[in-house]
Symmetry: C2
């Protein structure tokens, strides 16, 4: 397949591009800065990868072509960043995505698969005990509002037959490698990733704070799975899928850190309460979901969190 | 108060401007073409009205000033029009409204009241028996998708303290005077308005087809009521209010027409089935709602439909 990934310089984009190139697909990677070809890709596969720097709010056409089979829409400003800079968040998360989707319908085949990364941040309080795709989004952050708006756009363009859209609502991904991000959830990887590399990390929530997590390994399997879903597996105007995660809490995360990294790693976690505006966002997110739609469509779930910690620890040894 | 109305050349804008000017407010009327001062306004009150032609997608600032107390956001392309022209619908209903809201936060006081007209067209199937503000919008038309997206924007800007937003989800207004519109619901006024003036009118649905209607008189009372609601009557990030309507059906509407206009009027209704894409939109709209939020906030409801027919017949005699 010929596949485009936006936001391909980010962690998920790189992870996915690596897998797709190894599986033999042709991949275009685009981001606001020219994204790298994932470092593990052998030189003989480099000819299957194209890297393009593009500002999608003004030049979406430059990254599109009529022969694309699938487009992963992953670019965006993260949650804390969107809260800190109103105009930037809307420009990138809403308007550049809308411009891209409109360029897709003008440039690509109408059966092109468009896979959009949404988030549980679309939800806010009040919430039912077990939110599902039928639950009303009441975001308490601009990031969630922007994601919920684009979900409606994906539904509308798919209903009109302009492309074959899927919205995947990601759990928080942990353990995420690389540097801390502007996501309000950044610490949910940081408290594992940094101590396992001998660095201090800030924990802004108490032991009872619950989170909804998915490992990079399971996320990747689910992204690839979306490429094989039949278009009519969902109604044409309802394209959201809540990806499976596991509910855990800070106490269990710290126990997993200790199990893999010992007391030395645990000692590098420093507690410091979140700023009130970030705490409000964190507290508004639900921590468990009805994922029967996703499971019915063949998406996978993690079994436990310690497996994700071991995966990350193993990656450090390579 | 100093009040701005966008889409002020339209029926609801003119109705509201007339009432606000008579009540002693200062009113700016704007539309894509320079809107008229409502014809019933006596010349001595004309100095309280300003009329401006403006394309809000490019020149929102031109209609705003820091001393505004309230802004009614009524401009837009209607449902059938938005379905017929994808790009125009998004440009006006989403992007120009987003540009206006952003100009408001940069120009106006942060307690300015922003009252946005949304619609029951945000809903599609499947629906619970009694939809409320807690029901998930699953629009089956681009108009509904655009309205649902702006609702999220109104919530987010209000949550951030940038203005005091309220979203009113209008029932279909009937009997609406003037010419037929590009709304898929246009016939819900047409089958009364046209025959009472001796003209033929097309009815695209059968006798059992149910509708959710509100008279112009009640809508106007509810719009004025919104000017007095305290900001904290709703959570800062949930600003939607489902305005009260009454559920009736085509059979009862025709009976009301006959009661007021006689057999001569009834004979001018010609049956012609809707085009499939319009029928799909009409069939997707719910026809009854839980309006307890609105009633709890002091909004009014009609008692019956025949009152709206009499109001319209009386207006023809003036």
């Amino acid at each position: 397949m010929k596949i485009l990934i936006t936001g391909a310089g980010g962690f998920v984009g790189q992870l996915l591009a690596e897998r797709l190139l190894i599986d033999g697909h042709t991949v275009t990677l685009t981001d606001i800065f020219e994204p790298p070809i994932p470092p593990k890709i052998p030189t003989k596969l480099h000819s299957a990868a194209t890297t393009i720097a593009a500002d999608l709010s003004t030049s979406s056409e430059a990254v599109l072509s009529p022969d694309l089979d699938a487009i992963f829409v992953f670019h965006g400003i993260m949650s804390a960043g969107s809260e800190a800079d109103l105009a930037l968040g809307y420009r990138v998360n809403l308007f550049s995505t809308a411009a891209l989707l409109d360029a897709i319908r003008r440039t690509c085949r109408h059966d092109v698969r468009v896979i959009y990364s949404s988030s549980t941040a679309i939800f806010g309080q009040p919430l039912p005990a077990l939110p599902s795709e039928a639950t009303l989004p009441t975001p308490q952050g601009s990031y969630g509002a922007q994601k919920a708006m684009v979900e409606l756009l994906i539904n509308d363009y798919t209903r009109r037959g302009l492309f074959n859209g899927f919205t995947l609502r990601f759990p928080t991904i942990s353990v995420r490698p690389g540097a801390p991000t502007q996501a309000a959830s950044s610490w949910m990887s940081g408290i594992i990733r940094e101590p396992l590399q001998g660095r201090e990390s800030v924990l802004p929530c108490d032991d009872d704070f619950k989170v909804w997590l998915c490992s990079p390994r399971t996320l990747l399997a689910n992204l690839v799975h979306t490429l094989s879903l039949p278009q009519d597996c969902l109604p044409p105007y309802i394209r959201q899928i809540q990806l499976p995660g596991i509910t855990t809490d800070v106490r269990a995360m710290l126990a997993a850190l200790r199990e893999v990294g010992g007391d030395a790693a645990l000692g590098l976690v420093r507690r410091e309460p979140a700023a009130p505006e970030i705490k409000a966002i964190l507290d508004s997110w639900p921590t468990t979901f009805d994922v029967s739609r996703a499971l019915g469509l063949g998406f996978q779930s993690d079994q436990d969190f310690v497996g994700a910690v071991r995966d990350f620890a193993d990656s450090l040894k390579q």
